[in-house]
Amino acid sequence: MSSQVRVNPIRCDAYGMCAELLPERITLDDWGYPIIDSRPVGGQLLELARKAVAACPTAALRLAAEGEPSR
C-alpha cells in the first residue's frame, strides 16, 4: 500500500522545512506554505517523506494511506 503526504493547514505555520526535505513532493506557495503533490511516495522517497513528517515543528505533516478521504 502506498502513502501520500498530507498537511493539516490549521496546524501548519510555514516553517518550510518539509519543502527542503522533500522537494520531490512539496513546494512552497508565495506565502511560504506547502503545496503538496498528491502522487504516492514509495521506495527511497518514503524514507525522505518520513523525515519531513518528523521534522515538522508543528506536527502538521503526516503520511496517509493513498485515497484516505481527508487531508
Partner: protein, 417 residues
C-alpha cells in the same frame, strides 16, 4: 408552473404580510405532523431527491442515513439558520413566516435519525427569526415536542454558518471550521452523531413527509426537484425572497422579481460564495442544474457599474471573513484583496493581474474548509466576466463608472408567491 408546485410550496398558506403562522393555523392547513416508522422517511426523501439548500446540495437522505446508522438514540439535529451570506434572506424569511414548518422538519429529522435533542442555530443578527422560532417551540410544549429543542444564536461572522464551525460553537468554542474527519455524522455536538441541515431543507422535508415524493418531484426538474427559495438583489424592480420551481432559469427568476431595473451586465449566482456569469450567457441557465445554486442568492449587476470596484469589495469582504486558521486562506486572500484594491484604484500593473491568476491556482483546495475555494471561484469568474473593465483599469488607471457595490444586504421581504 404554479399548478405543478401547488400543495408543495413552503410559502403556501396565509399572506406573508400577516407574519408568523401560528401552530393552530399551521395544523388547520396541513394537519398534524406525520410520524414514520424507523427510517421510512429517509427512503421517501431519497425518492424525492431532496438536496441540501445550505450551499453544498448534498443528498439529504444520505446525510440522515449516515447519522441514523451511527445513532444509539443519542444523535443531535442542528437546524442551520445562521444564514451569514450577506445577499441571502431566504432562511430568515422562512423562519419568520413558517416557523412550524421548519420545526416539523426538525422533529421529523430527529425521529428519522433517532436523535435525543435538536438545536436551532440562528444568526444573532436576525432577532426576528430567533423570536419566531422561540415562540413556535413554546407553542408546541405539551403537545408535539418529542425531543428538547433549543435556540442558540450564531455569531455574525460569515464563516460561522459552515457546519463544522457551527458544531465547534455549539461545543463551547469559537465558531471556526475544524479539520474533517471527524465528520459531523461521526462526531458532532457533544461528540455525538450529528445532522447539520439548513432550515429550508428541513421545511422541504416536512412538506415531502405530508405530500409524498411523487408530488414533490412533479415540480422542478431532474437534479433540482421541488421548489427553491431564492433571494434576488440589486438591479431588480422588487428585490426580495421568491419561491420558484427547481431548475427555473435565471430569466424566470428575474421576471419573477419584476424584471431588471436597467440593462444588465452580469449576474452573480450563489451569493458571495458563488460565481459571476455574463448577462448574455445567464438568461437560459437553469438554477441548480446548469449553474450551482450555492446560497440561492442572485445579484443582478447593471451596466454602468464598475466591475473592478465590485470585485475588490467582494474579495475584501471574503479576506476579512477568513477564520485566519490556514495560511493559504489568511495570507492568500489578504494578497488577493490588496491586489484587487490596487486594481480598482488604478494603481495595478499587468504583472499584478498575472499574479492574481497565479494565486488563484495556488490557493484552491488548501484550507481546512472551502472558504478559500469559494473566494477563488468568485474571483476567477469575475475576472473573466469583467475582463474589459479590468483592462480599462490597467490601461487608463481607473474608469469613470459608478462605484456602487452589492455590499448592502437586500430587503428580505417575501415578494413572490
Amino acid at each position: 408552473m404554479i399548478e405543478r408546485a401547488s400543495g408543495i410550496r413552503l410559502l403556501d398558506g396565509p399572506p406573508t404580510t400577516t407574519g408568523s403562522e401560528s401552530l393552530a393555523e399551521h395544523q388547520a392547513r396541513l394537519g398534524a405532523r406525520p410520524s414514520f416508522r424507523g427510517g421510512d422517511l429517509i427512503a421517501i426523501l431519497e425518492a424525492a431527491e431532496l438536496r441540501g439548500r445550505g450551499g453544498a446540495s448534498f443528498s439529504t437522505a444520505q446525510k440522515w442515513a449516515a447519522v441514523r446508522q451511527r445513532s444509539r438514540g443519542n444523535a443531535v439535529v442542528v437546524a442551520n439558520g445562521a444564514e451569514t451570506e450577506p445577499l441571502s434572506g431566504k432562511d430568515r424569511a422562512l423562519m419568520v413566516l413558517r416557523p412550524h414548518l421548519v420545526l416539523d422538519g426538525v422533529l421529523l429529522a430527529a425521529e428519522a435519525v433517532a436523535a435525543s435533542r435538536a438545536v436551532l442555530y440562528i444568526s444573532r443578527a436576525h432577532e426576528d427569526a430567533v423570536r419566531a422560532m422561540t415562540s413556535a417551540i413554546a407553542e408546541r410544549r405539551g403537545s408535539d415536542l418529542p425531543v428538547p429543542v433549543t435556540v442558540v444564536r450564531a455569531p455574525r461572522r460569515y464563516i460561522a454558518g459552515q457546519e463544522t464551525a457551527a458544531i465547534a460553537h455549539l461545543n463551547g468554542g469559537a465558531a471556526r471550521p475544524t479539520m474533517v474527519p471527524p465528520r459531523p455524522y461521526d462526531r458532532g455536538v457533544d461528540g455525538r452523531p450529528t445532522v447539520v441541515q439548513n432550515v429550508e431543507t428541513l421545511a422541504h422535508a416536512a412538506v415531502i413527509a405530508r405530500r409524498g415524493a411523487a408530488a414533490y418531484r412533479s415540480a422542478g426538474t431532474q437534479g433540482a426537484t421541488g421548489t427553491v427559495l431564492l433571494t434576488i438583489a440589486a438591479a431588480i424592480h422588487s428585490p426580495g425572497v421568491y419561491e420558484l420551481e427547481g431548475g427555473s432559469t435565471i430569466a424566470q427568476a428575474v421576471s419573477a422579481g419584476g424584471g431588471a431595473t436597467t440593462s444588465v451586465a452580469a449576474v452573480l449566482v450563489g451569493g458571495y460564495f458563488g460565481r459571476w456569469v455574463a448577462a448574455e450567457d445567464a438568461w437560459d441557465l437553469r438554477l441548480g442544474v446548469d449553474v450551482p445554486l450555492g446560497s440561492a442568492a442572485l445579484a443582478i449587476f447593471p451596466h454602468g457599474w464598475c466591475g473592478v470596484t465590485q470585485i475588490a469589495a467582494l474579495v475584501a469582504f471574503l479576506a476579512r471573513e477568513s477564520a485566519r486558521q490556514c495560511g493559504p486562506c489568511e495570507h492568500g486572500l489578504a494578497s488577493l484583496a490588496a491586489t484587487t484594491d490596487e486594481l480598482a484604484g488604478g494603481r495595478a500593473k499587468p504583472r499584478d493581474a498575472e499574479r492574481l491568476q497565479r494565486w488563484i491556482a495556488q490557493i484552491a483546495g488548501r484550507g481546512a474548509c472551502h472558504h478559500p475555494d469559494g473566494a477563488v471561484v468568485l474571483l476567477s469568474s469575475a475576472l473573466r466576466v469583467f475582463a474589459a473593465d479590468v483592462n480599462t483599469h490597467l490601461r487608463r488607471g481607473g474608469c469613470d463608472r459608478d462605484q456602487a457595490t452589492l455590499l448592502p444586504a437586500p430587503d428580505w421581504t417575501i415578494r413572490g408567491r
